[in-house]
Symmetry: C2
Subunit: 344 residues, 2 copies
Amino acid sequence: MAVRLKDIAQELGVSVVTVSKVLRGNSDIGDATRKRVLKRMKELNYRPNMLARGLANGRTYTVGLVVPDLVHPFFAECAKALGGVLRNSNRALILASSEDDPEIEKQEIRALISRGVDVLIIASCQSDLRSFRQLGDEVTPCILFDRNFPHLKAHFVGSDDTRVGELATEHLIKIGRKRIAHIGAKDTSPALDRLRGYRNALEKHDLASPSKYVVIRDRLEETGDLIGFEAMQQLLQLKSVPDAVFCYNDLTAVGATDAILQAGLRVPEDIALIGCGNFRYAKYLRVPLSSIDHGTAELGRITGELALDLSEKRERKPKSILVPPTLVARHSTVGDAARPKTKK
Amino acid sequence: MAVRLKDIAQELGVSVVTVSKVLRGNSDIGDATRKRVLKRMKELNYRPNMLARGLANGRTYTVGLVVPDLVHPFFAECAKALGGVLRNSNRALILASSEDDPEIEKQEIRALISRGVDVLIIASCQSDLRSFRQLGDEVTPCILFDRNFPHLKAHFVGSDDTRVGELATEHLIKIGRKRIAHIGAKDTSPALDRLRGYRNALEKHDLASPSKYVVIRDRLEETGDLIGFEAMQQLLQLKSVPDAVFCYNDLTAVGATDAILQAGLRVPEDIALIGCGNFRYAKYLRVPLSSIDHGTAELGRITGELALDLSEKRERKPKSILVPPTLVARHSTVGDAARPKTKK
DNA sequence: CTGAAAGCGCTAACAG
DNA sequence: CTGTTAGCGCTTTCAG
């Protein structure tokens, strides 16, 4: 195996403990010894064995993250920002993807706990609180991320999804649309909250929201384009076709765009479209997409900092952080008016 | 802390070793005892402490992956496929992002080795072989991924990038283009190989490749759109403007598209464009993008399997696996001809 | 300022 | 079939 503390200690004729103390910058070591030890460590390219350290002191300097889908731009971006924060504090990120399957998620959580992560961060796809409860171990601190369980008193970092729904819908109202539909997702807190926001906004402006205008679908994260396409086709069948749609996420909006164009209609002249996430390619699409930006990288950063906090001081009462969303208007709602204002 | 083997052993009046053996499915345990033990494990929701196990037997059932950028669709997709393979064999994936910075990469590799990963997978951004050599520990098996160091005898899994360059360029030639440019990247093996493939194809068809037609840029992975935009503008300045461009990756091609349209020219009528990576949104772009698909998920899968192999039997001579690329033609090269053939 | 002793939770090797 | 003995590499008392 690699170089161990023992090796260095023997070579230098000191004890393992002394070397260990130097390693961790403990102050009660003579200056001469300290220098000798440090020098030898460099030379031998010593790397502490984190397993042993973890076993000995109960901490692993490790954070586990479980997301439904790594390829999803939102989660990828968050994971990246999170990783950056952790790296600066010498923590490693262990990543697990649940493929949006509650069973896999459960398995992954078990695995992460087995590995002794100091903090667990989860964007859960469990549909009910009860199943979620059984997953933890009551000792590893846990941060709910993006998806909340309202009645669970746990740490949460996510966007203000009710506000997301309001912002999107109000924008559509502001550009004069009256028949506003929503293609939404199932069960998760962002889905429910965005729907609520959508309803809030309509109500506030005395607009109708016939139940046919709300289309709820599954698996919008991975195959949103296909589902959005199909859901939009359904909306196009209605006797009174909507003149605007608030889509659960950008990918869904992309699919919806396709359906509209394929039906020979125009975006936004006939139907305006807004998504959510403001993903990297939104401005390069066939129809540059208006979207609600929920500060993705920011979310990752904040989550990372909370994780660090939790791994230091275990107390801390449940804390809920909501990042406020912002509107980015592009062609899919405001048409050519987008050009001068938002670049491209 | 959590439930330990010892707890179960004491409760049941057997030894720790017995319980440990049951845990690992060791065959030399009586049926009655086994059942009792298993039952109690379930009840207590026992989770083995992987740190302790790793320390005791020298393996951690963990694989480390270092990529330049997690948000890049290529790496995200690969990481996902890789994670899937590992999960099925009860391995965890520890992910690190180097932000395309050789120093960070070095630091991350050290950290992963400290954590005792069984296998290390690296898409390295070191520009020279020498700096790379010093990173490893000569004992953790290592797989080079996507980016190779030709003269290093190590395991490699990646696409056949020379073929990528040939395929792209030959496609442009086949649709009748004569003045074919290339926007390429720096230093890494895919960059050099794709450039080589580009040159091979031109040479084979007796086409000129003036040096001004090759624009090499940095950081094409993260900000490819901006760089592609700027590089394309430079190509548009030439007295003899190219009639086709093979772009290093899709993001770069997206930026180039923008530059061309903004200059009042058409894609593909005036300038045809092909990218590489065939990313998820290629078909939804303003100009649906032709691209070379290098079997992203496949790459992840293969890498995962090789990693499993390596973590079992350490011998194994360096193995180099090249995945053959395929062409996906869309509007950006073949114009409306794309419609009937490739959907959308 | 330095070090000896004990132990983290688990497994490998060998005895009975 | 079951258990004893040792030890993985490091940290934590606590005594010198």
